[in-house]
Each structure stands twice: as structure tokens, then as C-alpha cells.
Symmetry: C2
Amino acid sequence: MKPISFKIEKKISGQLGRAGHLDTPHGAIKTPAFVTVGTKATVKSLTPEQVRDLGAQVVLANTYHLYLQPGDKIIKDVGGIQKWMNWSGPTMTDSGGFQVFSLGAAYGKELGKLTKIPAELLLENSPDIDTEEKPKLATIDPNGVTFRSHIDGSAHYFTPEKSIEIQHNIGADIIFAFDECTSPIESIHYQGQSLDRTHRWAKQSLEYHKSKENSKTQALFGIVQGGRHENLRKESAGFIGSLDFDGFGIGGSFAKEDMKNAVKWVNEILPEEKPKHLLGIGEPEDLFYGVENGCDLFDCVAPTRNARNGGLYTKYGKVNILNSKYTNDFTPIDSECNCYTCKNYTRAYLAHLFRAKEMLAATLATIHNLHFIVGLVENIRQSIIDEKFNEFREKFFISYKN
Amino acid sequence: MKPISFKIEKKISGQLGRAGHLDTPHGAIKTPAFVTVGTKATVKSLTPEQVRDLGAQVVLANTYHLYLQPGDKIIKDVGGIQKWMNWSGPTMTDSGGFQVFSLGAAYGKELGKLTKIPAELLLENSPDIDTEEKPKLATIDPNGVTFRSHIDGSAHYFTPEKSIEIQHNIGADIIFAFDECTSPIESIHYQGQSLDRTHRWAKQSLEYHKSKENSKTQALFGIVQGGRHENLRKESAGFIGSLDFDGFGIGGSFAKEDMKNAVKWVNEILPEEKPKHLLGIGEPEDLFYGVENGCDLFDCVAPTRNARNGGLYTKYGKVNILNSKYTNDFTPIDSECNCYTCKNYTRAYLAHLFRAKEMLAATLATIHNLHFIVGLVENIRQSIIDEKFNEFREKFFISYKN
């Protein structure tokens, strides 16, 4: 008996994209779906009821953060992440690999999941520029990663087995194999070495997982890496796809223009019948690309982080609520939006809350942005069911400008 | 037709205390009642639905803060404070007098509503110690107060008429006359001068209010001052009580032990049939003293401010959730409490949220603390109706330790 089951309901004609249904031990996820991020076992500024009411189906927490605070043992003792955070629906945890990247290769370089990177750094034989940078907080060896806590500077060591053990303790429905997320500006030589490591770690993660009872109630997704290189991406999809994972994550830190290619290369090779999660991606245009290229799940901190900074999604694009023209604008953020925030509050009031640095600003803005993004993916799903994906896509981008 | 009507339902035998029913244009308030503070037109970290669900009947916003940000005209334009903040129940605004005190006499001295003050400073003939302190942000003249905005340093001038005009624009159901809140360490000479000013301003506030249409829909409460001096307090109660106010506020910055006396002196003189609001007081022991000495309404930032700092009320007294013993305590804050927080979250999770500096910490803690204080006053009310006030009081303090 597998912990999850996935069924494709409808495909986009002539493309990789599909609408599906993913059953987990804590309920179903209709895919494609946007996974709400709750890094430290809370979706920032919202109660779980607010998360559910805005339409979210599933929450993803971060292994690295919860391991450091409060510690995975405490979450195990209370009965798992659902009980810990009072969220009764499906949950996921990542493997910690991306945080290791943030503390290591990306440290001090402002590299994120999607980054605008100068063309000269993206040449096939670009030098490894890491050597002259400031000291990293993480170092990688063949067996794992040593890193320092961002909270108290204490030293820790993650191996694939350790990452899975922590994720077993946290107890989410879907967990991820331990991987190395590389920077797009690393040399192809480094990318190849790293990929070998990620593949070895994937096998170790899977073996450790299968050896435990938790594999009956928690699904394990393998992660495809390979940077921006077609040969490496395809090699990774072939290798990871051949292993008995319950689903797959597509990882990486991307130059924006590379992301689409990477997703397509990979999903043409990965087993069609298993769910695919595009890790850390969530702006509207990227969601469309991801869906049409066969991704079923997406998570991203952008909607919640943008919300806390006053960047609000509308059908015309993002607006900055702190713009002075909203000071006495008594209309909602988006007049056609039916989220709690738009039904009850004006732009003027939101602008006031942001200026007054009131916490309710973050709450109302987060509800709106998550409702927008979760709802967008829900509408994309419906358009696939209705065989109108391309029309829906076209119509969306006539009004939405980035 | 008066904007509000007040009916005494039951008195505590042999004491000034009573349970009553206060009708306002936006619904009834069963008294005694704790008024939830929403300084900047938001109860910090809560949605209005969360405020209502925890049992709050009425919200008080601050005139000084709303005048500066977003400006009272904007609130008038949108249709008043209820519409502005999406709170459909009764509302109040204070007069700005206490904020002027905070910027003036109290500035840099850590004086609040209740302060522990060295005995030598409370002598009848204590010198006026103001002269040697750092520059104040507010200066008082016979006609009003000049103050500087805490936001941008801009200069502003409040008169009684200006305060009432602003409160008319904000549009709360119950508003307050402009007063000077004095420091308990001012000399009796200064207290007397100040009281004359407050009385003159009370008359001006009332005359201006009565000359406007708003007096049909907004009730005006006069404020009794007089510091810690029996003769001044009684003089003030006699004078303010003789004016045609809809109700009364009892103001002042108190040395804790003085507060009880002041309230009793005043309420023995003020017209019995009108509602009385003890301004800015809200710790459990003070609520009991206030009720038994004839106060019907209370507001205080303590429950919400304590909550944001991790100080949580229980029937045994306040606990600091950051105490290390709560790290893996899987019980609720108070096992007999039926608030949303106690029904759904453990002390361990709350401790985690506070340590992780997550906003949900403030939300959950605020819900609990307000539920505790609002519920306490509700239970005090019921004990009066049931003729069991003294037993209830005694029982409460057997377990509750400050």
C-alpha cells in the first residue's frame, strides 16, 4: 500500500500539462495546486483557518528551520506537524537542500530560486567564481553538509539519512530526498560533480526511507537537479526517474529564462503517472509554464513575502499599496476578487495599516495574495478540465502585466 | 432623542457597583464591560471577526493617532470608523488628552496609567519636578495643547473644539471631552490649575458638541480629573457631573494605591443613572475595584501589550510563555479556558512561535488574553446579576496571584 495515489484526470492536448487528483493520508489535493509555504510550521501572519478559507489545500514547512527550532523531536512527540501547527490537511516538508544552498553557494550573492544573472556568467565554461567570495556558512563533502545555525551559530551535519530521519519525525505526508541545489553560475564541471552527489544521496534517502515504517504513511519524492545544462538535466531525470520514488521534485536555482527549458527536458523523461513538484517557483507566468510543461505542484514564498512588503497581485499585475494614490482610494485591492480582504477592506485602509506598521496589514495582504495565486492555479486546473487552457492563458496575460 | 440609553439592571448590595445595559447606535453593551483597544483602528494582530469571536462588545480607537494617520477626514469620507475598520459593533474614541500627557508631562519619565511612584514624590507639597526634565513634545496653554507628531515631528494644536471636531469626523458612538491628564507627581498647585482648565475645556467640548448634528448620533462623556487629591476629585465630580454629558470618564495617571480612592470619591458624587468609564485601567484586581466602586466600562492596552510580549493570563496569574519549561509543554495555556487559542494550540507551539518571532504568536496570545479579560468582566457582571459578586471575587483571588 502506497502512502499516496495520483490519478491524471485530463491532459492538455499536445502538451505535457495535466489536471490530476493526489490522495494523501490527510486528504486530497486537486492538481495542479499551489502549495502554501509555512516555513516554521505557520503560514506567516495567518491562522490555519484563514489558510483553509482562502482556498489552500496543502502546506509545506522547511526541514532546516524546524530541525533548528523547535527541534524535530518535539514535533514527533506531539504527534507530527499537523497536530503541532493545527493544520488538518495535507502537508509537505522539503529536504533542507535549498537552505544549505542559501547558506553555502548562494551566501552573500543574492541568488534565489529565480535570479537575473549576467550572460557572461552563464557561459558553458564560466569559471567557478566561488573561491573569492566571503566565507560560506555551509560546506559540502561527499557524505553530507556541515552548516552553521543562522540562530546561534552552532555547527550541524546533514546526511541523506539525517534529513529523512528529521522528516520522519516531522511527519509530513510528502517529504523530499536530500539534494544539493546548485547555483546557475557554477561551472559545468562543478554541476556534474554535484549531480553525482545528489544522485547518490537520492538513493541513500530512498533506501533509508524504505527501511522504516514511516514509508507506509509518508511519501518520498526524489529531486532532479542538473542546473541549466540539457545533458545533466536529462541524465538526472533518467536516473531519479528510474528509482522507486512516489513522486518527483524539480530543483535548482534558475536564471529565469532557463527554467522553462529545464522543466520540459525533465518532464519528458520522468514517469508520466507520478506527480511532479516544481520547487520554489510561484510567479503567475512561471506557474503557467510549469503547468503546461507537466508540473502538478508548486510552492513559493513570493506571494506571502510580497504581501508583507505591500506588493499585491491584481489581474492587471502587482501593485504597491504604499503608492500615495491609494491613501484615499475606497475601492478594494481587486474589485472582482472575492477574498476576505477584498470583500471587507479598502485600499485606503490597507495603506493605512502598512504605514502604521500594524500586523493586520500582513494578515490582510497575505490572505489576498495567497487567494490570488492559489485561485489562479485552481482556475488553470479548471481550464484544463474544460479543455480551455490556452484560451485561459491568453486571456490572463492580456490583462496581467508583470 | 439621546444617542445612547443606559439602564441599571442590578446593584451590588451596599456598594456602588452595578450591572447594566447600554444601548448605542451600533448595538448594545452589557455592563460592566471591558472595551477592547484598537489604537489605530485595528485591534493589534486581530481581524474584527477574531475580536468579536473572543467576546468583545466594543472597540476604542485613539483620536490622537487617527488624526495624525490616516487623518480624520479620510475616515469621515469613508463613512466613519465602523466602515473604515470593518467593525460593525459599538465604538469609542478617547479625546487625545492622555496622549498629550504622554508627550508632555510623562515624556521620558515612564509614567503610565498606573505607576509605582516613590512615596516622597507623592507628598502633598512635593515640588514640581518637571523643570529639570528633557524637552517635552507637548506644551499646554489656557486654550489648548501644542504638540509634535511622533511620526514626522510636525507641529499640531488641539483645542476642545478641535478634539470634538476630529471625533465627529471619526464618528464613534461614544466620544470624550478634551481634558488634561496630569501626572500624580505634579504639585497640588499644578493639579488645581490643570483641573480648572479641564473643567473649562469640558464645557467648551459639550457646547461645541451640542451645536452639531453629530450630537444626535454620538454620545459625549465628560472626564473627571483631580489627581490623587480628595478635594479636587470631589470638586471635579461635582462640576463635571452637573453638566449634561451622556456619561463620564474617570481619568488620571495613578499611583496604584490611589486609584481605588479616586474612583470611590468620584462615583459617590456623579449621577448614578449615567454610565461611567474608568479610562485606561484593566488588570484583574483593578477591574474588581472599579466595578465595586461603580464603574461600568474599562479599557486598557495591558492585555494586548502583555500578549505581544508573551505574558499570558491564567487563573493562577500571568505566565511568561518564553520560560524554558514551556518548550515541550503540550497542554494549553489554561486548561479550563475555551478560547480559540486554548482549544487548538499547546504552550510548546506558542513558545515556538514567540522564539521564531512569528506573527501568529501575537495573534494567538492576544486572542487568549482578551478572551480572559473580556470574559472576566463578563463573569463579574453575571455574578452581580446572580447576587454573588463577593463570592466570585473571593474565589477568583484564591487562585489568581499577581
